[in-house]
C-alpha cells in the first residue's frame, strides 16, 4: 500500500501541470481557431451550400452539370491547359534562374533574389500593363524584332500572351522554392560523383536532379494551383478564347448576379487543387516505393 502511495504521489502535480498547460494552450490557440472558422471554414461551407442550392432553395446538382457542359467545360479545360503550360514554363525558367543564383556567392545571390522577388511587391495589375506595353504591336519586343520575317508578332490577346504573363507572375514562387532546395544540396556530392568518373551530364541527371526533384514537384504544383485561380493577367492579356475559370466566375457574379453557378465553379476549382496535391503525393510515394523495390 505504501509502495503504491509513493509511486502515485508524484503523478498528480504533473497531471495538474499538464492540464493547466492544455488550458493555456487552448487559450493561445483560440485566435487561430476563430480565425480559421470565420475566414476559412465558414466561407468554404457557405460556398458549398450555395453551389448545391437551387433558386427555390432545394438541393440540386444542376449548377455542377451546368459548369461541366458546353462552354463552361471548355473554359475549364482552357484553365487546366494554361495552368499546366504556366507550371511547366515557370519550372523551366525557375530552375535555370535558381540554379544560376545558387551558384553565386552569397552576396550576389541575395541581390539576384531581390531582383527576382521585388517585382512581386508591385501590383499585379501594374505588372500586367507593363507586359501589355512590352508585348504590343508597337511594343519593345516587336520593335526590336522588326527585322524578323512575320513581324510584328501577335504576342497579346492570345494564349501566348496569357502564358507569358502568368509565367512571369509565378516565377518568384518557383525561384524561391527551388533556390531553397538547391541551396540544400551538398555540392561536395557532385564533386564526389566527379571523382568516380561521372561527367557533367551524368552528375546532373543522376545526382543533382533527383536531389532537387522534391522541390521541382512542389514548385510545379504551386504554380499550377496558383494559375488555376489567376484572374487579372489572363483577363487582360488573353483573348476571348483564353477565358479562364476565374474570369467566368467574375462574369457570373458581377454581370449576371449568378452566385450559385459561380460557387459551383469555385468548388470545382478547389477539388482540382486537391486532386493536384493528391497526384503529387501519389507520384512521389510511388517513386519512393519503386526505388525501394528495385533496391531490395
Amino acid at each position: 500500500m505504501a509502495a503504491t502511495l509513493t509511486a502515485t504521489a508524484p503523478a498528480p502535480p504533473r497531471k495538474l501541470l499538464a492540464s493547466r498547460r492544455t488550458r493555456v494552450g487552448i487559450l493561445y490557440a483560440l485566435p487561430v481557431v476563430v480565425y480559421l472558422l470565420v475566414l476559412f471554414v465558414y466561407p468554404i461551407f457557405s460556398t458549398l451550400f450555395l453551389s448545391l442550392k437551387d433558386t427555390d432553395g432545394a438541393l440540386t446538382l444542376h449548377w455542377y452539370a451546368d459548369a461541366l457542359t458546353g462552354v463552361n467545360l471548355s473554359v475549364l479545360f482552357t484553365t487546366l491547359r494554361i495552368s499546366a503550360e504556366t507550371a511547366v514554363l515557370s519550372l523551366v525558367f525557375g530552375f535555370v534562374l535558381a540554379n544560376a543564383i545558387s551558384r553565386l556567392k552569397p552576396l550576389w545571390a541575395g541581390v539576384a533574389m531581390l531582383i527576382v522577388v521585388v517585382p512581386h511587391f508591385i501590383s499585379a495589375l501594374v505588372r500586367t500593363y507593363g507586359w501589355i506595353i512590352m508585348l504590343g504591336d508597337k511594343g519593345l519586343v516587336n520593335e526590336t524584332m522588326a527585322w524578323a520575317p512575320g513581324a510584328p508578332f501577335q504576342l497579346l490577346y492570345n494564349e501566348l500572351g496569357v502564358v507569358i504573363g502568368t509565367t512571369s507572375m509565378m516565377l518568384p514562387y518557383t525561384v524561391l522554392l527551388l533556390y531553397g532546395v538547391m541551396r540544400g544540396v551538398d555540392r561536395r556530392l557532385l564533386a564526389a560523383a566527379a571523382s568516380m568518373g561521372a561527367g557533367r551530364v551524368t552528375i546532373f541527371r543522376r545526382i543533382y536532379l533527383p536531389l532537387v526533384a522534391p522541390g521541382l514537384a512542389s514548385a510545379g504544383l504551386l504554380s499550377f494551383i496558383l494559375s488555376l485561380g489567376y484572374y487579372i493577367t489572363p483577363a487582360l492579356m488573353g483573348g476571348p478564347n483564353q477565358t479562364m475559370i476565374a474570369t467566368l466566375i467574375n462574369q457570373q457574379v458581377m454581370k449576371e448576379n449568378q452566385w450559385n453557378g459561380a460557387a459551383a465553379q469555385g468548388v470545382i476549382l478547389l477539388l482540382i487543387t486537391f486532386a493536384g496535391l493528391l497526384l503529387v503525393k501519389l507520384v512521389t510515394s510511388l517513386g519512393a516505393s519503386r526505388r525501394k523495390r528495385s533496391a531490395s
Binding site: L189, M196, T202, L211, A295, S296
Partner: protein, 379 residues
C-alpha cells in the same frame, strides 16, 4: 607520446611490405600551389609504387590536403606535373583521372541505397548488370556490409557509412585511392577498428592508397611510407621506422618522436661515433656518426622512450627526478639536469624499475638513438 614506443613493432611489419612493390602507380613532380602570397604546397615531389600505402601527415595548413586535392583534380596546381601510371593527368578534370576518393564526410548519395551507391561508379563505366551485382556484392562483403545493400545511407551509422564510401571508391579498382581524413569524423574506438580494416583490405587487394591525416598514430599504423609535411614542404618522405629513428629534421624528430632536444657542440669523431659536449651540464653525449665538423653547434634529439635511467654519474648527465607519472606499462619522468636551466628532460621507462620523484639518476642513451641537427637548421 608513449603510444609511439608501443606502436613501433607494428611499424616494422608495415615498413617491410614496402619491399613488395611492383612498378610506379603515381608520381608527382615539383607540384606547387599558392593562394595569393601563401604558398600552400611548395615543389612537392614523390613517387608512389603500386600497392603502397602512403600517408601525408601534417598539421592543418601543412599542405597535405591541398596536395591530395591537386592529385584528385579538385584543385589546379600552379606548376608541376602529376602522373598516374604513365598518364599525365595534371590538366585533366577529376572525372577523367580514374582515381578513387574517400571523403571525410562520406558524401554518399542520399537518394540512392547502399547498393546503388557502390554500383554508381560501375554503371558509369558501362559494366554489365550481372557483373555489377556480383562485384557490388563482393565488395560489400569484404567491408562486412552484406545485408545492408537495400538501406539508405541515413539508416547507417557513421562507421558503416564510411565503409560504404570505401566500397564505392574501390569497387572499380582505380589505380590509386585517395583518402582525405576518412576517419576524422569517427570516435576513437571506431577509428582504431576501421584503421585495421582499411589496412587489411588494402593489403588483401593490393590497393595503392594515399591517405591524409594529422594523427601520427594513425599514420604509423597504416602506412608503408609517410610524407611528413609542414608549411607546404615535404619535410621527409620515408618509412615510419626511418622517420622515427632517423629523422632528417628537428621538426620530424619532434612531430613523430616528441624528442628531447639537448643543445651542445661537436667535440670529436671516432670511427663510429660523434661525441657532443652538452651545453649547461657539460656532459659528453655519444651519438652515431654524423658528418658534421667539430665545433659545430648542434641539437641532439633523443626520444623519451630511448633514454635510460642509470646510476648517478654513469650516464652522459645526471639530474633529479622532478615528476614521475605512472601510466600503466610505463613511467613518464621529468628530470631536472644538473647545471644550466634546460627544460625538464622527458623520460619514458618501463614501469617495473621506474624512478621515483626526488631520486638522483644518471641518464644514458644508445648512440644509435641520438640524432644530431646543426643548430642553424632550426625547426
Amino acid at each position: 607520446m608513449a603510444e609511439h614506443g608501443v606502436v613501433t613493432p607494428s611499424v616494422k611489419t608495415a615498413g617491410a611490405t614496402s619491399a613488395t612493390t611492383t612498378g610506379k602507380a603515381l608520381s608527382v613532380v615539383a607540384l606547387r600551389k599558392t593562394y595569393g602570397d601563401v604558398v600552400a604546397v611548395d615543389e612537392a615531389s614523390m613517387e608512389i609504387a603500386a600497392g603502397e600505402f602512403v600517408t601525408f601527415l601534417g598539421a592543418s595548413g601543412s599542405g597535405k590536403t591541398t596536395t591530395l586535392m591537386m592529385i584528385a583534380g579538385f584543385c589546379e596546381p600552379d606548376s608541376g606535373t602529376i602522373t598516374v601510371g604513365d598518364r599525365d593527368v595534371t590538366r585533366l578534370a577529376p572525372q577523367k583521372r580514374n582515381l578513387g576518393f574517400v571523403f571525410q564526410q562520406y558524401l554518399l548519395f542520399p537518394h540512392m541505397t547502399v547498393q546503388e551507391n557502390v554500383a554508381f561508379p560501375l554503371t558509369l563505366r558501362g559494366v554489365p548488370k550481372n557483373e555489377i551485382r556480383k562485384r557490388v556484392g563482393e565488395t560489400l562483403e569484404i567491408a562486412g556490409l552484406s545485408g545492408f545493400g537495400g538501406r539508405k545511407p541515413r539508416e547507417l551509422s557513421g562507421g558503416q557509412q564510411q565503409r560504404v564510401a570505401l566500397c564505392r571508391a574501390l569497387v572499380y579498382r582505380p589505380p590509386v585511392i585517395l583518402m582525405d581524413e576518412p576517419l576524422g569524423a569517427l570516435d576513437k574506438k571506431l577509428r582504431d577498428q576501421l584503421q585495421v580494416e582499411i589496412k587489411t583490405i588494402q593489403q588483401e587487394l593490393g590497393l595503392t592508397v594515399i591517405y591524409v591525416t594529422h594523427d601520427q598514430e594513425e599514420a604509423l599504423v597504416l602506412s608503408d611510407r609517410i610524407a611528413v609535411m609542414r608549411n607546404g614542404l615535404i619535410e621527409q618522405f620515408d618509412t615510419p621506422r626511418e622517420l622515427f629513428e632517423r629523422p632528417k629534421t628537428p621538426f620530424v624528430a619532434d612531430f613523430l618522436g616528441a624528442a628531447n632536444f639537448l643543445p651542445g657542440r661537436i667535440e670529436q669523431h671516432t670511427d663510429e661515433h660523434t661525441l657532443v659536449r652538452l651545453d649547461g651540464s657539460g656532459g659528453l653525449l655519444k651519438a652515431r656518426r654524423h658528418d658534421l665538423a667539430s665545433g659545430t653547434a648542434v641539437k641532439a634529439a633523443v626520444q623519451p622512450g630511448r633514454l635510460r635511467a642509470c646510476a648517478p654519474d654513469d650516464g652522459f648527465c645526471t639530474g633529479t627526478v622532478e615528476v614521475a607519472t605512472y601510466v600503466g606499462t610505463l613511467v613518464r619522468a621529468g628530470v631536472r639536469i644538473d647545471g644550466g636551466d634546460a627544460p625538464l628532460l622527458r623520460l619514458e621507462v618501463p614501469a617495473g624499475r621506474g624512478p621515483v620523484t626526488g631520486e638522483r639518476v644518471g641518464i644514458s642513451a644508445d648512440p644509435e638513438d641520438v640524432n644530431l641537427f646543426p643548430t642553424e637548421q632550426d625547426g
